[in-house]
Symmetry: C2
Subunit: 212 residues, 2 copies
């Protein structure tokens, strides 16, 4: 497939690929100005298209945001997956590295991360694809835990699902509280939150190596 023209040629009635362009523009805007700053009219005129053109591709604003979230989960899953694989290759702890990658993603894509998790698009039930994609990311964590239990690096006595929930909650908490500035001042460039995440992983894993 040849490279697609990104901008609409002047005077053309139909945009070459408005749907993707809308998603890209939304992601960019969210990244640069936050979710709250996103408005459909600006997105439209940014693409040289009228303010309601979006409605031929998305039911409403929420649907666009859900799509943005979906793209986020896709990249997120790849990042987590690659962190685990890398760790295994290097003999590092996969869960600790995954936690670190989690924080790294959240910090590098703060508004995108918020779009994924702060209910900006309303109910998840309306977007089955989004649920599937989010489950895919979660599965990286869950399967890694199961594998670690298989090699007995962590106790097999705990329900892996509950462990996954606890670990997820921890890193998610560090990410969200950290971004809100509640875990001390930090500009996101220093690795302070990643360090906190590593400490979190080590304490948890230490607790999981002991008996029950």
């Amino acid at each position: 497939m040849a490279v697609k023209i990104q901008r609409k040629p002047k005077g053309a009635y139909h945009h070459p690929d408005l749907e993707h362009a809308l998603v890209d523009a939304a992601i960019r805007t969210i990244h640069e100005q936050g979710v709250n700053a996103l408005n459909l009219r600006a997105i439209g005129s940014q693409l040289g298209v009228s303010r309601t053109a979006i409605y031929r591709h998305f039911d409403d604003k929420s649907a666009l945001l859900a799509r943005v979230a979906l793209e986020g989960f896709r990249i997120f899953r790849l990042a987590l997956r690659s962190a685990v694989d890398e760790a295994r290759k290097r003999g590092a702890d996969p869960l600790e590295e995954m936690g670190s990658a989690y924080i790294e993603f959240a910090l590098a894509n703060q508004s995108h991360y918020k779009t994924m998790f702060s209910g900006a698009f309303g109910s998840w039930d309306r977007y089955p694809d989004l649920i599937t994609e989010a489950d895919g990311a979660f599965d990286v964590l869950l399967s890694t835990i199961r594998e670690e239990q298989g090699t007995s690096r962590i106790a097999a006595s705990h329900d892996p699902m509950r462990l996954a929930h606890i670990i997820w909650a921890g890193v998610h908490g560090i990410a969200t509280l950290g971004m809100a500035g509640h875990l001390g001042p930090h500009d996101g460039t220093d690795g302070q939150l990643e360090e906190l995440s590593r400490l979190h992983s080590r304490i948890l894993l230490s607790g999981l190596r002991s008996r029950s």
Copy 2:
């Protein structure tokens, strides 16, 4: 001080205590319909007052939300404090009981909790009182950790502030992900999330009793 009349008497120009009435109405609306459903016009007419009367008591909508959050942190702090005291009296683990109380508060006041933590009111910097009140709630956790380290029930080798951040992040994560339905289906009436929080506490504390 005598009991104040809550509703504005018909025809009265001045509301007896509009400021508190506004906060109460906002809290009630948020509790019943969520933060997003809150709008100033509805609040006004609900109190028999015009739509802009609020501006004599709050700079803007954000300021009202910040006040709602502040009230939340006050109640929150009391709940955490009392959970710790209760636990000590009963010989239970103070940190585990505090975690449980944390989840209980969040579940019983979901929208209020979101108002406190989801940045609904914009930047914290604008509301120094809010920061103070939130710090007060955090101090319940921090001081409890220090006390537990004093009695050596948890290792004193860790920075208590970092431990507080990690524990807080864990319960906050459980609360927010749980409310979003990400930790399995639950209606909030069963104690599923509280149970998860207890498991979380036990694993962490187990890890904190080991060396390092």
